[in-house]
Symmetry: C2
Subunit: 309 residues, 2 copies
């Protein structure tokens, strides 16, 4: 283990601009940042602001940043976003095999060739564990449907210098499971609330039909179909100068996609529908600082009131 | 994608006892659980209780659940705990290569053979990113030393059914960097405070000299040396019936270990010393529920007062 200065061999791939330097400290990898107290305070205030209008009956769950690999595979993630998935890999085998791999690193070799996939992946969104969790319960979805309020630290492998495209970020999602009418009404209601929420926070926003960043040429076909059916809307908010506005919330109708995979049915035995409303907690926080500045004391009084500052 | 019921093919490897069922929902992998609102509320109250006695000058940082792989490698983690490390692996290569791997899964093959290590690992403890972060700053450690208050979701690959040994868990750490006298005084002070904190929370505790779970036969030698030098103390608290008490806090003196790796020096050019005090936020929360029961309303009034319930 040498004592070479890290900045001599590790030119920081994640330099921060003036605003970024107030919110984050670099950690040597693009899109991975330590969050300062100034920044975390606003993330927490935003989290407390969000739940107020949620359905009282929603079950609230905080997921860890990893989830079952087989459950994410079954959800179809590899078909849509194989390039973004982070899989947890570990050294398996006997004591001498593990030692041999670790020692390969000491001798300057590539120890990672010995890694094998564990039964875990980094969650790419907060709602994926919800559907298998409901399926595990085993009962039929009741007439009034089900509602969840979930949160997780999520991961997508897309290194970028943009502060509104982190690799590791917090998502909060409201998930609705029930009839097509129930989940469409839920999504519609939240699209209206979202624009009100952006106004309350002093954030300029536009609501647009959108598509997921499906991978490759096949993905472009999936995106056309998604757009034609208006399955995804996004609330776009400016997060950095000279760049188009960023999707800070999304409103997604999955039709029977997850119900079919997880065999989620109503009392009559029909497949249910699902929808989710997703809040990019880090993007919303970056948008707040980008719009109102690094000094929270000078934010508009209405915004400060909304966040109970 | 078949619609087989998940509980038909996935017998839950992580069944929960009565207390566990009030705190967690299973996610199909041992040691990985969704956290209920009841549980999260106590985690958050505990987090607010902790910072009160910290040094006012400590820099507070919240790290994401992943950190630079090369920085953790350089920290010596592979020498000590190669079996516990979770490395982030992704599909690299061209569009057709990534598609070929993803399609292998559809046809029932092992797509994970195509995974390659990214430049990230899951952080195994909250303090590892602190030392390279200080090094990146490039300046000498001031005479009064440095103090950090950091938090992260951590990961260690040790599947277990024990609720006090999760694979994914929250750690809070107070880190001190300075002279040997400064960091030893810091650790001593926290060992006393910790016993007071346990009393305040109504938790029976014992403070003991301890060792890290170093890997393999070589690790046993490292553990003997660590114990002889009293480098690690743990505060043990009962977390489950029929099992020995669990380390819920630890008090670690690293001597010049991290300073040497990251070239951290004082104004005179001497290597500094470091120490950290670690709080297992999930273990402490499980200990509270194990000791006082699942019904927070019936917890002792002194404990409720301490947690501002």
């Amino acid at each position: 283990m040498s004592s070479v200065k890290p900045h001599a061999t590790h030119p920081d791939p994640a330099e921060l601009d003036a605003l970024g330097a107030a919110l984050f400290r670099p950690m040597g990898v693009a899109g991975i940042y330590a969050r300062t107290a100034l920044y975390e305070d606003i993330v927490e205030r935003l989290a407390r602001l969000l739940p107020q209008p949620r359905a009282a009956r929603a079950e609230s769950l905080h997921f860890p940043p990893v989830m079952s690999r087989s459950e994410l595979e079954r959800s179809g993630y590899l078909k849509s976003f194989p390039n973004l998935l982070g899989c947890v890999c570990t050294l398996h085998g006997s004591e001498s095999e593990i030692h041999a791999a670790a020692e390969l690193h000491e001798s300057g070799g590539d120890w990672t060739a010995a890694l094998e996939a564990a039964d875990l992946v980094l969650s790419p969104a907060a709602c994926y564990p919800v559907y298998p969790l409901v399926a595990r319960g085993g009962s039929r979805v009741p007439a009034e449907g089900l509602a969840f309020d979930v949160a997780a630290e999520c991961f997508r492998h897309e290194p970028s210098r943009s502060l509104s495209r982190l690799q590791s970020f917090r998502m909060r999602e409201f998930v609705r499971i029930g009839s097509a009418a129930q989940v469409m009404a839920f999504r519609e209601q939240w699209m209206q609330r979202a624009e009100g929420l952006a106004r309350l926070l002093g954030l300029p926003s536009t609501l647009e039909v959108a598509t997921d960043p499906f991978f490759g040429r096949v993905g472009q076909v999936m995106a056309v179909s998604q757009r034609q059916q208006s399955l995804k809307f996004e609330l776009l908010i400016p997060c950095e100068s000279g760049a188009p506005p960023t999707a800070c919330m999304s409103f997604n109708y999955h039709r029977e996609h997850f119900a079919e995979i997880w065999d989620l049915r109503d009392a009559a035995g029909e497949l249910v529908h699902t929808a989710c409303v997703a809040f990019g907690m880090d993007r919303l926080t970056v948008a707040l600082f980008y719009t109102h500045g690094a000094n929270v004391a000078t934010w508009p009084s209405a915004v400060r009131r909304a966040l109970a500052i």
